[in-house]
Amino acid sequence: MPKISELLVNGNRLRVDTTSDRSLLNVLRDELNLTGSKYGCGEGQCGACTVLIDGQATRSCITTVGSAAGKKITTIEGLEKNGRLHPLQQAFLDADALQCGYCTPGMIMSGVALLAKNTSPSDQEIVRFMEGNICRCGTYPRIVTAIRKAAQSIKGGGR
């Protein structure tokens, strides 16, 4: 089994020592102590493990670390810059778009990927894009609001 010794995470080259077949989620959490990405189902059905790989929302629980090596990986920990939250993180706080918060990192990473592609998504477009992310507490309407507000904030120069 080929070995992976380096990953590009949140702009940093990080040393890892792992076989290429492990899940990216597992390596992020257990090797790199980046526990913001969550395990929810292990089959890509709930979105709690969502990270960006070269800007694309990706389910890290069903992605091998081998396929992510050499690519730009962004996790929830990489969004805050110099103590300043990403506009979508701020919008989640402003809309109180969370209860237990366990789905929140995955929701935010999916939302960031959407906003990178579509700077002013309609509510229908948000719903369609976010369909693969589960919030068991049922804060979906607030998450839609947060994404819409973040889109406005980014256009207004938020980032």
């Binding site: 492990r22 597992n26 959490r29 257990d30 102590n33 980046l34 526990t35 913001g36 990405s37 969550k38 395990y39 929810g40 189902c41 292990g42 089959e43 059905q45 709930c46 709690a48 996790t75 929830i76 920990e77 969004l79 805050e80 939250l85 993180q89 701020q90 989640f92 706080l93 402003d94 109180d96 969370l98 209860q99 237990c100 918060g101 366990y102 789905c103 929140t104 990192p105 935010i108 948000i126 719903v127 369609r128 976010m130 369909e131 992310n133 589960i134 919030c135 068991r136 507490c137 049922g138 804060t139 979906y140 309407p141 607030r142 998450i143 839609v144």
Partner: protein
């Protein structure tokens, strides 16, 4: 071990709801010593439930004994509060945060009484070594019971600080005001911070049960929408849930599960797993598990163990209703008034119908998890449980050690909805850690979560009724098999009624769930009322009012109907309107639903829900809305499509790809109408908003199609039109 789940045990939810007295007492003397050791000096306020406590009120005790004689050690400590020498305020409560946002609402009520900003309050929750005994976070009890206690502690703290300032300044306490963490001499504007007053002292005060608190109509901080106090740690991924905890040298545990529910271990071969370097294998009674340095090795080791299990034949989901009826073991008459026979005789129309509800899963997004560590004979377990003290008891019993050798710590948890009462995963992690001699973390897989947790009880409900021509219900006989007694009593004025709960054997392990059986009982009752209204060609809302004297229930029905536009024309021919109302755990709820039915595909889509809710004086309007919205969204699953499928001891759909939960596209337009009653004490709100949705949706589907659906979930595969 935890693997044994006898199926004929009394249902757990009733036990949790009815157990009023704490099973354990907190040793206050020990706690006090630990307390000052932990936090240094300052002022500690203790709320006690003892009658004695009020007599002790007002005494102060210095550690040196120089102030007042030591008060007799109060038992039954319910809450406490500490003001440190730096002025920081820490509240201690055995309640836990699972997303219901009580960390925020409890901070608000304490800030209110102490006249300090919410941000200056720290709430330490669910740690059996540091927080007072608490029976558990369930039954919507935090707001009606814990909040008033902490409120009193804070009010007493404020008064004690005024006394200290009066001593310090040698002035009358009446001229001392409290604002922004300072005491102010209102004549001279001289001020002193809380912390400076307590400096160098270890002060203890017992709060009397009758401490006066600020009435709701004068609230300035409570009653307002305050955002989740530690929200930032969640949106940055910084918060460490149990499953994110790490200890030095920690191993990863994995359990070898039985071949079927209720199976017992016949044989086990562990040699191959034991040969893997770094692996510890435990085979003890019905428990088989491994601990290994990492998750892959643990999975490999678990797979290398060969087991044989024995199980008796067990029923399948499709035989459930018949099974529950046949297996009834005992009946409990919940209500008996008047005469059903007389009532039926006077009836113009009679109706007998049966309603059923399926087992459903809580499916909290964070699966059950625990990290266990044994050190010098003491066991510490981090785990997401709603009953930290209950789980401490389970661990002590399992490992035959005294409770004071067990500490349970509950990090804010990835939800539970009543599903995380038990200590299974804590016991598993502790058992593995004991043999491995190192800390062990166990995180259940989603499949384990869907199989080895417990479920909302399924149920069969028979309703027989009679109604006179003017719409008065003359007879009401209600038999609930298995799902439970929550919400079984009615606020309707039924002169002749008989309500019975039948306990039965359950093929699946079952227990508490958001709202308990109130969803099942409201579904049966409010569907049946709708059927009667239609049989008499009466408007369903008018029909309810005809049989209702309870003003609070009438008020929410009116509020929901008015905001929804009940009685107004529908926007399209495919639409249907439904209404349902109810009461549970101190909260009054009414829901109006609008559904659209696609005649070609049979798909029933929930378009719009308006729900009015009244729970006394509102502590935090926006978080209350959040709970109502969340209850509605969660309720959609149980109403329309969620159901456990099982056959002969195996769960057939233990994955999100096979067990559908509500998603973004299932979410209707939601309007929450808050009825604020500042003249009434606050009730909890995490559960009751879920109970009205299912019947409102069923009634709306009938309105749209003429099809009466009497089983939850209503339309897992669409409607047959």
């Amino acid at each position: 071990m935890s693997e044994s789940h006898p199926s004929d045990q009394p249902i757990e939810l009733e036990r949790y709801e009815l157990q009023a007295e704490p099973a354990y007492r907190f040793d206050f003397e020990l706690a006090r010593r630990d307390f000052f050791k932990l936090l240094g000096g300052g002022l500690v306020l203790v709320f006690t439930l003892d009658a004695l406590g009020s007599q002790e009120s007002g005494r102060q005790e210095g550690e040196s004994g120089r102030r007042a004689p030591t008060p007799s050690a109060p038992k039954d400590i319910a809450g406490w509060l500490h003001i440190a020498e730096d002025g920081s305020v820490t509240v201690f409560t055995g309640k836990v945060e699972f997303g219901q946002n009580i960390r925020t609402s409890l901070s608000q009520v304490v800030a209110e009484e102490l006249r300090v900003p919410v941000s200056s309050i720290r709430v330490l929750m669910g740690d059996t070594d540091l927080t007072p005994f608490d029976i558990g976070t369930f039954g919507s009890r935090t707001t009606p019971t814990m909040a008033p206690q902490l409120r009193k502690a804070a009010a007493a703290a404020r008064e004690a600080l005024i006394d200290l300032a009066a001593d310090e300044w040698k002035i009358n306490r009446a001229s001392i005001g409290v604002k922004d963490g300072k005491l102010i001499d209102e004549r001279t504007a001289k001020s002193i911070e809380f912390g400076r007053l307590t400096k160098g002292q270890k002060l203890l005060k017992v709060i009397s049960a009758d401490t006066a608190t600020t009435p709701p109509d004068q609230w300035k901080i409570a009653g307002k929408s305050v955002a989740k106090v530690d929200g930032r740690s969640f949106v940055t991924g910084g918060h460490r849930y149990t499953s994110d905890q790490k200890l030095p040298g920690m191993l990863v545990g994995r359990i070898v599960r039985p071949s079927a529910l209720n199976a017992t271990l016949a044989s086990v071969k562990t040699g191959d797993a034991e040969a893997i370097p770094g692996v510890t294998v435990v085979s003890d009674a019905n428990f088989v598990g491994v601990a290994a340095p990492d998750a892959q090795t643990a999975a490999r080791a678990a797979a290398a163990i060969q087991t044989e299990w024995k199980a008796e034949p067990q029923p399948a989901a499709k035989e459930l209703s018949e099974y529950l009826r046949k297996q009834a073991t005992s009946a409990q008459q919940v209500s008996s008034q008047g005469s059903i026979t007389d009532g039926l005789e006077r009836a113009e129309k009679k109706l007998n119908q049966t309603y059923t509800v399926a087992y459903i899963a809580h499916a909290p997004l964070e699966p059950r998890a625990a990290v266990a560590e044994w050190r010098e004979g003491k066991l510490t377990v981090w785990t997401g449980t709603q009953r930290p003290f209950g789980v401490r008891g389970e661990l002590a019993e399992t490992f035959r050690i005294p409770e004071d050798r067990v500490r349970v710590i509950v990090p804010d948890t990835g939800s539970g909805y009543g599903g995380k009462h038990t200590g299974d995963v804590a016991i598993e992690a502790a058992r593995l850690a004991k043999s491995a001699g190192k800390p062990v973390k166990v995180v259940w897989t989603r499949e384990e979560e869907f199989t080895w947790a417990y479920f909302r009880p399924a149920g069969v409900i028979d309703v027989s009724s009679g109604v006179s021509a003017d719409g008065t219900i003359t007879a009401w006989e209600f038999h609930n098999y298995n799902s439970g007694t929550a919400g079984i009593q009615t606020k309707y004025a039924f002169a002749n009624q008989k309500i019975v709960f039948h306990q039965t054997k359950s093929p699946l392990r079952q227990g508490s769930y958001r709202g308990l059986a109130a969803t099942a009982n409201h579904f049966a009752r409010e569907s049946h009322l709708d059927e009667l209204a239609h049989a008499l060609k009466m408007d369903p809302l008018e029909f309810r009012f005809k049989n209702l004297k309870d003003e609070r229930l009438k008020a929410v029905l009116s509020a929901a109907a008015s905001a929804f536009g009940w009685g107004k024309p529908k926007s399209a021919a495919d639409r249907g309107f439904g209404i349902a109302g109810g009461f549970e755990k101190g909260g009054y709820v009414a829901a109006c639903a609008e559904v659209a039915v696609d005649r070609a595909t049979g798909k029933a889509k929930l378009i719009r829900v308006v729900e009015a809710f009244e729970c006394g004086a509102i502590v935090n309007p926006d978080q209350l809305r959040n709970q109502i919205e969340g209850s509605i969204v969660m309720g959609i699953g149980g109403a329309l499509f969620e159901a456990m499928d099982f056959d002969n001891g195996k769960v057939v759909n233990p994955r999100f790809s096979r067990y559908r939960v509500p998603r973004f596209s299932d979410t209707p337009l939601i309007e929450a109408v808050l009825v604020d009653r500042k003249d009434l004490s606050s009730a909890g709100a995490g559960e009751t908003p879920i109970v009205g949705l299912a019947p409102a949706v069923a009634n709306a589907i009938f309105d749209a199609t003429g099809i009466r659906l009497r089983s939850l979930p209503l339309a897992p595969n669409g409607l047959k039109l």
